[in-house]
């Protein structure tokens, strides 16, 4: 994000009511469909709805905690080393999430693979820390993190649901189609992720265009 858009964007935000901080991440500035941020996990672990949900919630948790901490510490973090500080904060919570998921379900942890650790480099989280939490009050930062995190989860779920439904005929591991369902192998492959994302982006852009 360039400096100019960032400042105008912030100026617009400051006038808006606090509930807007929460709502905007869900729809108007949805991280997946509008900002197209953090595409690595969106494409990689959206092959089933369950993976997508866990990934989305893990990201939401890290986002919420890091946004809170960054906004609490924003007066103390020197401007010159702020990125390093943010990454340190984010990495702490990512490590916690990593262990947490491993403790709850080893199977899920293995399914998500390295992508849990890779939340640390998710540009959505660093982006919110830099663009929002470092200049706003803790309450607003938390609302922003929740909105963005849930918007991200929503985006992941949109992809995961379609891919699981077509790729294995089930949703959240519940079999939807009757026996002899023909699985669309491509939906489980990375290519299917790109196709699904493209179709969702098309739908969202068309919806936005018709609204304008």
């Amino acid at each position: 994000m360039s400096t100019r858009t960032k400042t105008t964007f912030l100026a617009a935000l400051d006038k808006s009511p606090p509930t807007n901080d929460f709502i905007k991440g869900l729809w108007r500035e949805n991280p997946v469909f509008v900002q197209v941020l953090g595409m690595c996990p969106v494409l990689a672990v959206s092959n089933t709805a369950e993976n997508a949900l866990v990934m989305g919630l893990a990201t939401t948790f890290v986002l919420l905690m890091s946004n809170t901490l960054v906004s609490l510490l924003r007066a103390f973090i020197p401007r010159q080393v702020r990125i390093a500080c943010y990454v340190l904060i984010i990495a702490t919570f990512v490590t916690m999430t990593d262990y947490l998921i491993q403790a709850i379900s080893l199977e899920l942890h293995q399914a998500l693979g390295a992508f849990i650790s890779l939340i640390v480099v998710n540009c959505l989280i660093l982006g919110r820390a830099e663009a929002f939490a470092s200049r706003n009050t803790t309450g607003r930062s938390m609302l922003d993190a929740l909105g963005m995190g849930l918007g991200f989860t929503f985006g992941l779920l949109c992809l995961g649901a379609v891919r699981e439904l077509l790729g294995s005929g089930s949703l959240f591991n519940v079999v939807i189609f009757p026996d002899h369902f023909q699985e669309w192998v491509v939906m489980m492959l990375p290519a299917g992720g790109f196709f699904t994302l493209a179709i969702w982006l098309l739908i969202f852009n068309a919806a936005k265009k018709s609204k304008d």
Partner: protein
């Protein structure tokens, strides 16, 4: 005062009296013998398959045009060709719902996502087939036998599979060792010759391959009819003959070289030439005027690349057939080939002094306001009314956006010509 307004337009300035519709209709005619033979060889299943793909392609084109609030382009026949070509590349016993999905993907993803006719970087029918191949690998490699006695009274078991359901098998399909054994004698079996060779080292008689007495995709079996269709289009100057010639000769020469090494894993060049989708691909898919280079030298290079890829995939790849991927890769490369090989614009450079001319062009490019100093090539380069060196008046705007300077001297390369013709 002049009464007339000067008409300034982008090239091409000279057009033939042939429209898109003419070319497309002729392609359909060229494909009709192939289609008829496919129906004759595979019966009702193939007929339904071809009708389904054509219908779904045309329907998708119409619906997408309506959604975009444009005039429907169905009447230019290009969607018919896409649908027909897709049907001809699919296995004859494929469930119709998969064929329908393939037609939708061909037009929506292969054509409209890029901007419609004239902008499709890849052959739309092959895009549809590639997605189907990736989505349903099992169904796409289940080959229905040709020339079954009941082919005009019964449908293949899988044809009327309910949407999203797995196709049923009727015991006739598939390359079981037994059916493959009989392939050498009569060729009336479910395995394609390429698969039989790849996995069982069984070759098929070249005559059977050329006449289409084999199993395979719906329209790829009878090489002779495909060649006849191609010759018709070439004779009417509606197909770039260099592309099929270079693809086929590359495949023939390369596989001939390997065949001479006497290693049993390499089939004879005639087998390579007449088996699989090579003929159909080389004549009707690779020659898609949008996805192939425009210069003669570019067309040769494009054909050589595709031929090379076909040989590499067939001989050393995991799949028995690679024409589809070879052509799609060739399509992807063709804009780069067009950038690499550019026609010499009349009057700019000659072979003798090309170095000097390039240096000259470089000089005037650095000082566009001044006339060049060497006196020989005096050209008016003032931006308001610039004349390009072939004598056409060029408006200034299209050139400004380009980064590398050379494009001005090429006239308008590429895309403008390509809008005329496709598929």
């Amino acid at each position: 005062m002049l009464n007339k307004t000067l008409n300034i337009a982008a090239s091409p300035h000279i057009t033939r009296g042939i429209s898109i519709v003419d070319i497309m209709r002729n392609v359909v005619w060229a494909l009709l013998p192939v289609t008829a033979f496919a129906v004759y060889a595979f019966g009702l299943g193939a007929l339904m398959l071809l009708i389904t793909t054509t219908f779904s392609a045309v329907l998708t084109e119409h619906v997408l045009c309506r959604i975009n609030r444009k005039e429907s382009t169905v009447s230019d026949w290009s969607a018919v060709i896409t649908g027909l070509l897709l049907g001809l590349t699919l296995p004859p016993g494929l469930p119709l719902w998969m064929a329908f999905v393939g037609g939708v993907i061909s037009i929506a993803l292969g054509k409209f996502a890029f901007g419609g006719l004239g902008y499709n970087a890849f052959n739309p029918a092959l895009v549809g087939r590639a997605v189907l191949q990736a989505a349903f690998p099992a169904a796409m490699t289940t080959w229905h036998p040709a020339f079954l006695s009941d082919r005009f009274s019964a449908f293949p078991a899988a044809t009327f599979t309910l949407p999203f359901m797995e196709p049923a098998t009727d015991g006739l399909t598939g390359a079981t060792p037994l059916t493959v054994l009989s392939l050498a004698t009569d060729g009336f079996t479910g395995a394609t010759p390429l698969a039989a060779f790849k996995f069982e080292r069984i070759t098929t008689e070249t005559a059977d391959l050329a006449l289409g007495l084999i199993s395979g995709s719906t329209g790829e079996t009878c090489a002779i009819l495909i060649i006849l269709g191609g010759i018709y289009l070439i004779a009417r100057n509606m197909m770039n003959w260099r592309i099929p010639v270079s693809i086929l000769s590359t495949v023939f020469v390369l596989s001939g070289i390997f065949y001479l090494t006497d290693n049993p894993i390499y089939p004879s060049p005639f087998f390579m030439l007449f088996s699989g989708g090579l003929m159909l691909g080389a004549l009707f898919m690779a020659t898609d005027t949008v996805g192939s280079p425009i210069t003669p030298a570019g067309a040769w290079l494009y054909g050589v690349i595709i031929g090379l890829l076909v040989v590499v995939i067939r001989l050393w790849g995991g799949l028995p057939e690679g024409v589809m991927y070879a052509i799609l890769l060739g399509n992807a490369l063709s804009p780069h080939i067009d950038n690499l090989i550019r026609p010499r614009v009349y009057g700019t450079t000659t072979r003798e002094n090309s170095h000097a001319s390039k240096a000259f062009i470089r000089t005037i490019r650095q000082q566009p306001e001044n006339a060049p100093g060497d006196g020989q090539h005096r050209v008016d380069l003032r931006p308001d009314h610039r004349t390009d060196l072939s004598g056409h008046t060029v408006t200034d705007s299209p050139a400004q956006g380009r980064s590398a300077g050379e494009s001005d001297f090429q006239g308008h390369s590429g895309n403008d010509h390509k809008k005329d013709i496709s598929d």
